[in-house]
Structures are given as structure tokens and as C-alpha cells.
Symmetry: C2
Subunit: 233 residues, 2 copies
């Protein structure tokens, strides 16, 4: 029997955070995370046209209707939602490798880095927000792109400055291994490219990305590697 | 000498979260948080017309240019940003009263409740986002109100359902005392009223609010009680 179910969507960057977290903590089965010690991955399609139909069944399980979520195989089953809450949970039940530094101010800095992405960038580029902009404000593709780029620029600039101030040169940000900061950053940089943001002004963030993508926990969990991703064209 | 500086703005609901957190953990001085064991509060005006000027000096300290932030009186001084990272830090340096349940799945549920507000509601009603909507999409007051109400409704509905499913009737959500969930919820309900949302569909959230506002840590830290709030009319 597996640990439970992992509800995910290939393109969800919050979903990718949890995929990285599960992989870093050694839950088996990249992509599927199945097997007796892993989670069985269930794809939930969040594309606007489809989510209208599949949404009902999914909301019966998770009232928010969002992914990612875990359903732990306990009696009764336990629903865990919100990617950062799931990552904190993973770090508590399986402390090694640690996702956060050991000292409280280091932990606060790493969490703040992650939250700057999770609270100040990602929610604004969410599919439901972009749909609302198209519907209510008649936003066309150019306006959507400008919107996304605005929040990416405003958000990534201070993170680049953060790395500069802490004398970052290469490798991971808060120690010898990737943690909360990298787990949130890499999917966000992927999204930035999707929205055609020029990443040249963020060379230090690019260094972090290169260090992370050399690891299977990041590379094998990428959106296009998921079984529900459309075939490459 | 105080613990350091607390940068805040009376109307910031993320700032209110930290005010509640400091008060619950017993840092002295409601409103000001000053005194030898407290933080000296510094008001940063985030109103759009003023932040252009004051923003420069503030960003030299905090590249994100946002509040709340703490600057710990250490050598060198340590900057802590992001309200939820600050609350986690407070809970680590001063564990009683606890902001989170003791068991990992309980902690995950409380964090998820808080993150549903901090990631899925609050960022969309942020002053910088509303300014962008006015500027780029010519949104008028009615459109801004519709935008804010949309994300409040979509966000608060599942939280009400969450309380219903866990059999909540009155008092605090995850135990005998308020924690992360309440600290995020109460400022968000205040904002909901500001955007004229009808709160009648959320009676259980209203029960939580009533329980919290009976405590000085919530009532004395309310926006209009801050020294930088404009005089009541």
C-alpha cells in the first residue's frame, strides 16, 4: 500500500514544488511517485475548458479545487493542501535532507525567499486570474503578457538583489543543498520563460537554476516530463 | 535597547498579522511595540501617491519595498521579511503560546488555512495590483470592487467549508488558542468589509472572528488603532 494519493497537474508550478520536495526527500518514482513507499500521482486537469467538468468531483475532495494536494492513506484519509504547507510537513516527517537552515534567522530568510515567490509572484500569474482578466477586462494576449511580466520583474528583481547582498556566487542559496528557496524559484523561472520574460537581468538566479537542474529531483520532475503533459511537438 | 525595528503600515493586512503575532507572543507595547523587550514600530506609508518618494529610502533597507519587516538589533542588523516567515520565526524563538498544533498533520492543516489566505486571496487585493488594474485596464471603482469580491468569495468559501467539515462550532480553529489560521483570517475579513463583501454566507468564519476580537492581541492591533492611521471622521 502506498503512502497515499498525490493530486497534481503537469503545468502547475505549485505542483512542481511538491514533486521536487517528494523527490528530494526520497519518495520513489519520479513522475509517478508510486510504489509501496511513494504516493500514487493523479493528474487533475486545470485547463479552463476542462476544469468546469472535472472540477466538481475534485472539489468534493478538496473544496479549494486546486492542486497540488496529498491524501494520506490513513483512516480516515487526511487531506493536505497548499504546496508550502505540504513542504513543511515533508520536512517535519522526514527531516533529512533539510529544506531549511538550522538557525531561526536563516530559516526565516529561506522562508521569506520562498514566500516572495509563492505570495507575491505566483498568485498573479495563476490561470484563474488570467481567465478573469480576459473575461472582465477584455485582456488580449499582449495585455496578459504585460501583466505577467510586470509581476515577474517586480518580484524577481529583489530576489536577485537579495542574492547579491548575501554575496552569492554559485551553487545553492542557503547551504549545501537545495531547500524551500530553490523549490519555489525553479518552477517560477520556468513560468517566466513561458511568459517570454527576458531573464538576462537575473544572472544570479540563473546560477541557482543551473545548480538545481543538474539534479534529478528538479530535472525529472519538470512539467514536460509528467505523464499528463501533451506530447512534445 | 529594544529587540529592533518593526516596519509597518496601519492599513497593511500583512502588517496586522505581525502585530497580532508580536502581541500574542507577549512583546510589549500594543501599537508601538516599543520598550526594552519590544520592537520600535516605524510606519512606512504605502499609499500610492506617497510611496513613490518614501519608497527609495525604504528599498535601500528592504529591496522588496514591502511591509511588514523586522530589523533585528544584531551586529550586523538582520532583516526579516514576509509576514508568514516572521510568524514562523516568532514561533521558533518563543514557542509559547504555540501558533501551530503539535502534530505534523495538524500543523499542515493550520498552515494550509493560513496560506489559502496569504497566497490565494491577499495578493490579488494588494494596493500595487489594484493600481495596475486602474492604470492598464482602466478599471473604475466598480470594476475594482468586483475584482476584489471575486477573489474574496472564491477564497473564503472553501475556508467556510473547511470549518464545516471539521465540525467547527465556536472558538478557535485548531485548539485552545489562536494561531496562524486566525492571524491571517481576521485581517482578511477586515479587508473583505472594506471591499463591501457580504459576509452572511460565512457564519463560521464570523464565529472565529468574534472569538479573536475579544482578545486584546487582535483588537488593540487593529488598523485604526495604529498611530499612523488617519484620525476617525
Amino acid at each position: 500500500m502506498s503512502q497515499g494519493l498525490f493530486y497534481d497537474y503537469w503545468r502547475s508550478s505549485a505542483g512542481w514544488r511538491v514533486r521536487i520536495g517528494l523527490a528530494l526527500k526520497g519518495f520513489p518514482g519520479a513522475g509517478g511517485f508510486a510504489g509501496p513507499e511513494g504516493f500514487s500521482r493523479i493528474a487533475v486537469n486545470l485547463a479552463p475548458a476542462i476544469s468546469e467538468q472535472s472540477g466538481e468531483a475534485w472539489r468534493a475532495i478538496n473544496p479549494q479545487g486546486r492542486v497540488p494536494a496529498l491524501v494520506l492513506a490513513q483512516d480516515p484519509p487526511v487531506l493536505l493542501t497548499q504546496s508550502l504547507a505540504i513542504l513543511e510537513w515533508l520536512d517535519e516527517i522526514r527531516p533529512r535532507p533539510a529544506f531549511l537552515p538550522a538557525d531561526p534567522t536563516g530559516r526565516a530568510a529561506a522562508r521569506a525567499f520562498a514566500l516572495s515567490i509563492a505570495c507575491d509572484i505566483h498568485p498573479l500569474n495563476n490561470v484563474s486570474v488570467l481567465s478573469f482578466l480576459r473575461r472582465q477586462f477584455m485582456a488580449d494576449d499582449a495585455a496578459i503578457s504585460a501583466w505577467c511580466q510586470e509581476w515577474l520583474r517586480i518580484g524577481l528583481g529583489p530576489l536577485e538583489e537579495n542574492l547579491r547582498r548575501r554575496g552569492y556566487q554559485s551553487g545553492f542559496i542557503f547551504g549545501e543543498a537545495p531547500g524551500f528557496a530553490e523549490i519555489c524559484l525553479i518552477p517560477q523561472l520556468y513560468n517566466a520563460r513561458r511568459f517570454q520574460l527576458d531573464l538576462a537581468p537575473f544572472p544570479l538566479l540563473g546560477e541557482v537554476e543551473a545548480a538545481c537542474l543538474s539534479l534529478p529531483a528538479f530535472a525529472d520532475t519538470a512539467p514536460e516530463r509528467q505523464p499528463d503533459a501533451p506530447p512534445a511537438q
